[in-house]
């Protein structure tokens, strides 16, 4: 696990050493009137941003000692190895440093983006579970019927089409003004959010998140529904189900009293991963489309603007979380189902 993490960091650090267009160039470009990396997408402008210039733009105008000053400020005057070791040492102590462009620590920056990510993650996960599990059970019970075939088809199509296309369709239909102007186009809350009453605030929030949540949920059905269906199918064929039926239990009791517990094991074992996904999930394009400011966008913006502390800080933290979650998933697996073990067998 630690070598993996180290490997990821080394590769990415090395990558950034050899590419043009570092943060200094970005600052210089901004000083000369370059701008927002999202101009091309959300602003409605049609010009795309040129993201990599091979020379210091400043080389054409700004004095050399100014650039040297900047380099010192960012720590680029030190050799790469030293910078890398300092960085890793800081990360080990969970000190993620400050963003280059906003005087705010990376940790606070991530916290700032959390509301959007939690909103999207929490609601779409809730909806997905509330629909997928009953649907999966129903499909297992009616395996092979036209209902089963058609829902499978619909789910898989929903899965195959990227979420942002659904988002576009929803925007055009419900927020674009051409058809029904039911939902707002951008943001998490209205401009006058502070003045609203408690109920008004809640309503305003849900009003804003309906479309983005819907768009990010559609593709989430497939995995869970089919997982539920399969584990139920496996269980239904087993002896104890026949016994339960033979005892004369109602089909409902059999399904929810007996099969459900066993059938849900595999779904439950996904909970740790799910929980983290709720907090740290981010979908760049969906966030961009609905002008939400979440983690997906943070990562992208940081990458384009070469905000290295943010890039490496989030990369380190999320890789670490990902690896821990992997282990946790295996552990819950063993915990809830003692039949599973990971011992090597000859």
């Amino acid at each position: 696990m630690i070598p993996t993490l180290l490997g990821i960091m080394i590769i990415n650090f090395a990558l950034t050493q050899f590419v043009p267009g570092g943060p200094i160039e970005q600052i210089l470009a901004q000083m000369e009137g370059g701008g927002d990396v999202f101009e091309g997408i959300s602003g409605g402008g049609s010009e795309l941003v040129d993201t990599g210039d091979n020379d210091y733009i400043g080389g054409r105008g700004l004095p050399a000692d100014f650039i040297a000053d900047l380099e010192r400020e960012f720590g680029f005057d030190k050799p790469p190895l030293e910078r890398f070791l300092t960085m890793m040492w800081n990360y080990m102590r969970l000190d993620f440093g400050e963003s280059y462009f906003r005087s705010i620590s990376v940790f606070d920056l991530v916290m700032e983006k959390m509301p959007v990510s939690i909103t999207l993650g929490l609601w779409s996960t809730l909806i997905a579970y509330m629909i997928s599990i009953p649907l999966g059970i129903k499909k297992a019970v009616r395996d092979g019927t036209p209902f089963d075939t058609w829902t499978s088809g619909a789910i898989i199509v929903g899965y195959a089409i990227p979420g942002f296309l659904f988002a576009i369709l929803l925007i055009v239909l419900f927020a674009g003004g051409s058809y029904w102007r039911l939902f707002p186009l951008r943001g998490l809350t209205s401009a006058n959010f502070e003045e609203l009453s408690m109920i008004g605030k809640v309503l305003d929030y849900f009003w804003h998140i309906t479309l983005p949540v819907l768009a990010s949920t559609i593709s989430a059905f497939a995995t869970l529904t089919l997982l539920t269906k399969n584990s139920f199918l496996d269980e239904i064929k087993k002896q104890y189900v026949m016994t339960a039926r033979a005892k004369g239990l109602s089909e409902r009791r059999v399904l929810y009293g007996h099969v459900f517990r066993n059938g849900m094991l595999i779904v439950i074992s996904g909970f740790p991963a799910l929980f983290i996904g709720v907090f740290f999930g981010g979908s760049l394009i969906i966030e961009t489309l609905f002008s939400l400011d979440g983690l997906g966008r943070l990562g992208f913006e940081a990458a384009v603007a070469r905000d290295y502390p943010v890039v490496f800080g989030t990369l380190f933290a999320f890789s670490l979380i990902g690896l821990v979650v992997g282990i946790l998933t295996d552990l819950t697996y063993v915990l809830i189902d003692p039949r599973i073990d990971f011992e090597a067998r000859g």
Binding site: N54, Y159, G176
Partner: protein, 394 residues
């Protein structure tokens, strides 16, 4: 001597199984027609005529370059076939009056009159859609213009015909996805085979390597590489393959790890068969089912990935007929809903057909299905769920 059949009995059964799956079969038929049409895009949507008859001679502007001078005009540049003057020159056989009153002359020729002077009637055979993907359409009004008789799906915000762009974009997406899938499959299968077959340290080190590799932020790398090398189709194919191949390694590796202790492999080893032969001749056919399971996701993942990149502005060069770029335009021009609808339904139809086809292929390969007597093939959800957990996330 009996004629040896083209396909082995097993493959024949697979074909039969595929045909029994009506959804997959119909998807394949519809998709083949659409893809076949889009392969002939130049003959369907182009701003040059397919054939021109000028003074009794036949010209093929789609394949060859003809200057305006070839048709009796003034310029040595390529003839602008859409211009009314050139149109008139071709129809009348190069009458110089065309520069003064082209419309009247064309009308006269259409009415069947024979004009005086050096007249020789000619004709032009146009494609169904007289625009290519990058033709600027000459219609009035504000830029994304709504669907009309000339532009069935309207135009985009630089006045290019949407239908023409859809046809070319469809071809581009599908060829991109198929190229990427084939390349990523080959690399992935080889890597997974080596890893699973040798096991031990090879496996361990490779496994770490893949973890690191998949930990790389691919979008970031793509942005950087494009910034250095410039954008091109093949570079994007290369980069997508670069980040796409680990998707297959997992399943292939698992199959090989399982199979390497089986009797037939040990027997082959004892007989002194080379490693390479054992891997690709004996074991690979058994691992094929697991591999085929992943195919639908590789294909749709590649198309979705290309669309997202184009949407973000980091995909193909901006001149390419990209469907992702159309999606971006739809977002920027909400007053033009035809862009959004076209983009959505093009993707929806393309991806659904591909998924259904590859599902059919997968079911046909599944040994459990192959030996079912009544051949009642249903969608194999188990395989989906198994593959899904490892599918590439775009």
């Amino acid at each position: 001597m009996a004629k040896r059949p083209f396909l082995s009995p097993l493959n024949q059964r697979r074909v039969r199984n595929f045909k029994r799956n009506r959804r997959a079969l119909w998807s394949l038929i519809i998709f083949s027609v659409l893809f076949g049409l889009s392969l002939m895009a130049e003959f369907i949507a182009n701003d040059k005529p397919i054939a021109v008859s000028y003074r009794g001679e036949l010209y093929m502007p789609i394949f060859n370059f003809y200057s305006e001078q070839d048709f009796g005009g003034d310029f040595p540049t390529e003839a602008g076939y859409g211009e009314v003057e050139v149109d008139c020159l071709i129809v009348t056989g190069g009458l110089q009056d065309c520069f003064d009153a082209p419309d009247e002359l064309i009308a006269a020729v259409d009415a069947g009159e024979t004009l005086e002077g050096d007249f020789q009637k000619g004709w032009m055979l146009w494609p169904v859609i007289p625009y290519s993907y990058n033709t600027i359409v000459d219609v009035g009004g504000v830029a994304p213009s709504p669907p009309s008789a000339e532009n069935v799906l309207g135009t985009d915000d630089t006045k290019r015909d949407v239908l023409a762009r859809v046809i070319y974009g469809f071809r581009l997406s599908v060829t991109f996805a198929l190229t990427v899938t084939v390349a990523a499959s080959i690399i992935g299968i080889m890597a997974g085979a080596v890893q699973g077959y040798f096991g031990g340290w090879t496996d361990l080190i490779f496994q770490r390597f893949i973890e690191i590799w998949t930990g790389m932020p691919s979008l970031y790398v793509i942005i950087i590489v494009f910034a250095i090398l410039g954008r091109s189709y093949w570079l994007l194919v290369f980069l997508t393959v670069l980040f796409g191949w680990p998707a297959l390694v997992g399943v292939v590796r698992a199959e090989f790890l399982r199979a390497r202790n089986l009797e037939y492999v040990r027997a082959a080893k004892a007989l002194g068969v080379r490693d390479r032969t054992i891997m690709f001749r004996h074991m690979l056919p058994n691992a094929m089912v697991a591999t085929v399971t992943m195919l639908p996701f590789l294909v749709t993942g590649a198309i979705g990935g290309l669309a997202s990149l184009d949407f973000l502005g980091f995909g193909l060069p901006s001149s390419a007929p990209s469907l992702g770029e159309m999606t971006l335009q739809a977002k920027q021009n909400l007053q033009a809903p035809w862009l959004g609808f076209t983009a959505f339904f093009t993707f929806a139809i393309m991806l659904s057909l591909l998924v259904f086809i590859f599902e059919g292929v997968r079911d046909a390969f599944d040994p459990r299905k192959t030996f079912v007597a009544d051949g009642n093939v249903t969608v194999d959800d188990a395989a989906f769920a198994a593959a899904e957990t490892k599918a590439p996330n775009q």
